[in-house]
Symmetry: C2
DNA sequence: CGTGCGATGTATCGGTCCGATACATCGCGG
DNA sequence: CCGCGATGTATCGGACCGATACATCGCACG
């Protein structure tokens, strides 16, 4: 998952580790807390070893002037390679079971702007199925096993069930929008003047896989 | 977290691993998927080594009759010890930062029936604070950084923000109930005679630490 | 003028937990 | 009689986290 996220972000711009972490936090803030450096740096090295990204020490232009008294451990900027872009395209298109859990779905969804519509649809439906299963499980517990559980546990299940139902509805909307070929967000007639701004990166229609 | 959950469950009844996993799934179904055996068994051994639980091979009553031709790897039943109960009480009462993340809070909440009111209140308020912070982060991104993000990412944040607001409201209700000294859930007058039953292993009322 | 503190930045280590896998037993239907 | 799904115990490699360490930079405050 981390691999996919890093590749996706570096596709937008070269970055160094710290920046990557911040961008990741901004993009995935709804899904998970900031990524740990204990995951980030080892993963970066793994990606580099695989050839998906390249590392370049930041050169301060006229560098030879500075005699490196303190060795100035410069920021290391990572850039995605052509192979890395291929890898990203492959990862984003193929959906395994982990694609539908909370984190996996969130990461895939965050890069939907770089995903073709068929895949988007497939992932949304897979996620819906997953959540529906969780929902049924909770209903079962609340129905059949209710008297075995204490009031707090029941309340927890009820809250979880509510969240499931809500997410299914959200997914239904997204799926409907996707099928109709429209933009992903809910049309907001009336109230706030709609959310017409934010035309945003992806052209409403399809994604693009164009390579330079 | 797993340690706390296992100790809590074994306080209700002795169990073997498989059963533990199922009960855990039922109790925490709203929070997380079933625990992996790759976590469960090592943790059980750790707890046993620490003396919080004891392991007892299941004896089929008249066992010497069976000549153990196939060695019959019997089910291993785990029982919590007095030290284990102390440990549980200590874990459930003390709240660190991990108490307020999704999983940690869920586990603590699931054992609120065995938690004193002051601690319940403290945990609910800590969780609320945590979620409020996440909510503010999402509002910031949706406000300040909106034009930098594509429509899908924004939709993800919006959905996350909605979930945060909903959870805060839920927590407010629970906190209010807690302060008023009432039961956490909607009062259930009439129907089942109000949780008087709950036959099951542990005696009805509240947690008890006495052992036969 | 310094000094200390928060943001930026790279990096490692131990520990928790997961997913895949293996293997054995049991009851039941075909 | 055989297979198959539920029950049941167990291990291994890998992903990810939290704590920690260390270094630089700019700026506010005394």
């Amino acid at each position: 998952m981390l691999e996919l996220a890093i590749l996706g972000l570096l596709q937008e711009a070269p970055m160094h580790g710290y920046e990557l972490r911040k961008e990741l936090a901004a993009k995935l803030g709804a899904i998970r807390a900031a990524i740990s450096y204990g995951s980030l740096y080892p993963t970066l090295r793994r990606l580099q070893a695989a050839g998906w990204i390249t590392e370049a020490a930041e050169t301060p232009a006229t560098a030879e002037e500075v005699p490196a008294l303190t060795s100035r451990r410069g920021r290391v900027v990572y850039t995605i390679t052509a192979e890395g872009k291929e890898r990203f395209a492959q990862l984003i298109a193929q959906a395994g079971p982990e694609t539908y859990d909370d984190t996996g779905f969130g990461v895939h969804f965050a890069f939907f702007a770089r995903t073709d519509q068929a895949t988007r649809l497939r992932i949304l439906e897979g996620r819906r199925r997953r959540i529906e299963e969780r929902r049924e499980g909770l209903r079962d517990v609340l129905g059949r096993a209710a008297e075995r559980l204490d009031a707090y546990t029941l309340e927890l299940q009820r809250h979880g069930l509510d969240a499931c139902e809500r997410e299914v509805r959200w997914l239904e909307e997204l799926i409907a929008n996707e099928r109709s070929g429209r933009a992903p967000t809910v049309p907001e007639p009336g109230t706030a003047g709609g959310r017409r701004e934010n035309e945003s990166p992806p052209p409403p229609g399809e994604s693009r896989t164009e390579r330079p």
